[in-house]
Symmetry: C2
Subunit: 192 residues, 2 copies
Amino acid sequence: MARTGRRPGDADTRGAILAAARSAFAEHGYHSATIRGIAGEAGVDPALVHHYFGTKEDLFGAAISLPLRPAEAAELALAGGMEAVGLNLTRLFFSIWENPASRDSLLALLRGAFTTEQAAQSLREFFQSSLMERIADQIQSSDAGLRVALVAAHLVGIAVLRYVVRFEALRRVSVDELVEAVAPRVQSYLTG
Amino acid sequence: MARTGRRPGDADTRGAILAAARSAFAEHGYHSATIRGIAGEAGVDPALVHHYFGTKEDLFGAAISLPLRPAEAAELALAGGMEAVGLNLTRLFFSIWENPASRDSLLALLRGAFTTEQAAQSLREFFQSSLMERIADQIQSSDAGLRVALVAAHLVGIAVLRYVVRFEALRRVSVDELVEAVAPRVQSYLTG
């Protein structure tokens, strides 16, 4: 493969890979899309996709403008131990949603889920394997999966009513106030 | 106004009013749409709209296929007193969402909110005044509005992840299991 000058060539190539990734995830779902197929669509070697973006999970995260790798997000949420997971996960969630680029991408992803089953499938497959299972693995409970899903539901619901439907009571509060109100309920689902 | 035979005429007229209502709420928002305007659009007298559907609130409820009047929904949620509001509100919410006609309408309403500000406005204006304020009025707390909005967020979030994104952990549980897990958190927001 011909190598081009570093800076502009890199940016173009990265953009082509991200565009191919978005289209592949939308068309095939997260689990069925492959790095090889995405590389082919972008006209690059699969190794270059890994070189730029890491794993498929990292590539999906980059395609939806997550400001950190999914594994790092799970680590951050769990870094303070299970007694602080409610606080750390809630803080992390809103820090991502308050970032305009991430918010726009997450809203587009949710909007897509209302429209096509393939988009809904990508969304659930990605968040299930990248974040929810990593947290559920730390919970000593037979219904760990349900507990984590109810936490996800609570946080996503706040995002929908704060950023989309825009209920006044949820728009006017700061992230700190939200975290203070919500973190104890998140904690009680995960360790209560 | 010419009166037609009761049965088919009634059904046609009701249908015309509902169609005019849906279009008026979508175009002007809930608060700005008027019974007079809707009646004009449907080619009937405003008194007939009141006769068939009651208040504007009831008409909006009918337009989105709610199986009961909003005031009745609030009454049902509050009927057991504030110590049972978590359980009664959560049960009521899922009994409405498990009704296919209501669910389709509510999903269409939410999908619309992702697409146009007018749809988001109608949604927040209607639920704010028909349900959330009635419940907030029963809470002795300076942040009653936020508490009720967080409850709404939690319930809506479960609906989005159970019926749209369809996370396995939320799809496979029964409504009774959901209510058992969620009602205590709803209760703690409202009276905790």
